[in-house]
Symmetry: C2
Subunit: 216 residues, 2 copies
DNA sequence: TCCCGGGTGTAACAGTGTTACAGAAGGCTG
DNA sequence: CAGCCTTCTGTAACACTGTTACACCCGGGA
């Protein structure tokens, strides 16, 4: 009934491929070509094995992806917060969350498709709750603040992920803004510059945190 | 070389299907079953026609999606801003942008994949630029503000789109927070409540706008 | 020796996007 | 009228996808 561990003490014939090897090869394929580039036959060919062996070890394409997602979710169990002021600590949490998620850009969509988003973000949510409580917010107000921050961070990462994957923006923002007649030349020029995502994220998140943590 | 309009004055044989009909049927299919549910054969069957006719009229699956995306992009040419204070006007723009984008949840991902995000958001970006200039921001600072707001709004909508499509969150946020021992009972209870996206968006966007438009 | 079960392979199913090719049907020119 | 040309449709195939029914091999236990 449970999963079969080939690493235990009774491999009768030294299997040509292990569950672990399948998962690793799948990860490699996904990182190279995206989730759509993962096909069971490619996977089998990569491992020098027939397709059915893949199915024997992981059951399914869906089950395979489930497993990878589970591993990722377990991978971000504890997020550290650094800094002294509440604003700084919340900001550091957000930066850390983005850093971790950006390491697995392909899987973030899969997590949602599997309905694991709450489970995935529970640790970070817990950490956020702690910091925001420490900042003095309580009850509904605190909950709204936590959620606002989570939506902001996850949303930013989703936008990033999308723009990363579209290699050439055909009428690029640069062309569009250079052709634009404008009163504020510096502004147009700035908008014609590629986005510095790190900086933009840090700035906008800090602005949001400041505003959310301030009494209004 | 250009596109052929069947509506012009020379239809020799009253075609069994028009380009327009294909686009409409595709839109219907996508709205019902998502982009992945759009197959050329389904489309042909829906219209009572062989697959090749579809290809003749729209060329390609990719070209078909391109066309739908183009239509959507043209659909949000002008966004109205209402209100008196800069903050209120920017906020109203954000709310309007979200409202329009939520009407086409399936296409928003396609727009990015096609690298049309800059073109798509140029109108809203222009409107934002006008409001933010009116608020007194200039140059690089203004550009960063515009981008921060766009990332926030688009990101929020992407998160919404994801959570909308995952029907059952298996360990739901509710269960998780009800099982959580917590010092702030009200907070845990609030986090166990489903998200009110409208309210959350309005609140968080307003917080962000306030902070971005304030001198720091 | 026989059997059982873990692990693998062959070959097929239905479904996908796409296309080479054969037509049908009307308008135009000879 | 014949012939051709453009527009539009259909048949059938290609390569690819996920998935599975089935046969097979081979080592260990009885």
């Amino acid at each position: 009934m449970g999963t079969v561990t080939q690493e235990s003490a009774k491999p009768p014939r030294a299997p040509a491929v292990t569950r672990r090897a399948v998962l690793d090869a799948a990860t490699r394929l996904i990182e190279q070509q995206g989730v759509a580039g993962l096909s069971m036959r490619k996977l089998a060919a990569e491992l020098g094995v027939a397709v059915t062996s893949i199915y024997w070890h992981v059951g399914n394409r869906e089950a395979l992806l489930d497993e990878l997602v589970q591993e990722m979710v377990h991978g971000l169990d504890t997020l550290p917060a650094s800094g002294t002021t509440p604003t700084a600590r919340v900001l550091s949490l957000a930066l850390e969350l983005r850093r971790v998620l950006r390491a697995h850009p392909h899987l973030i969509g899969l997590v949602n498709e599997r309905g694991l988003t709450p489970a995935m973000f529970l640790p970070s949510q817990r950490a956020l709750v702690a910091e925001i409580s420490a900042a003095g917010l309580r009850g509904t107000r605190a909950a709204e603040t936590v959620r606002a921050l989570q939506y902001h961070v996850i949303g930013f990462i989703l936008v990033e992920r999308h723009t990363d994957r579209s290699p050439e923006q055909h009428p690029s923002a640069e062309e569009l803004w250079l052709a634009e007649p404008s009163a504020d030349g510096d502004l147009a020029e700035a908008l014609a510059t590629p986005v510095d995502a790190d900086r933009l994220f840090a700035r906008s998140t800090e602005a949001l945190v400041r505003s959310l943590l301030a009494d209004q």
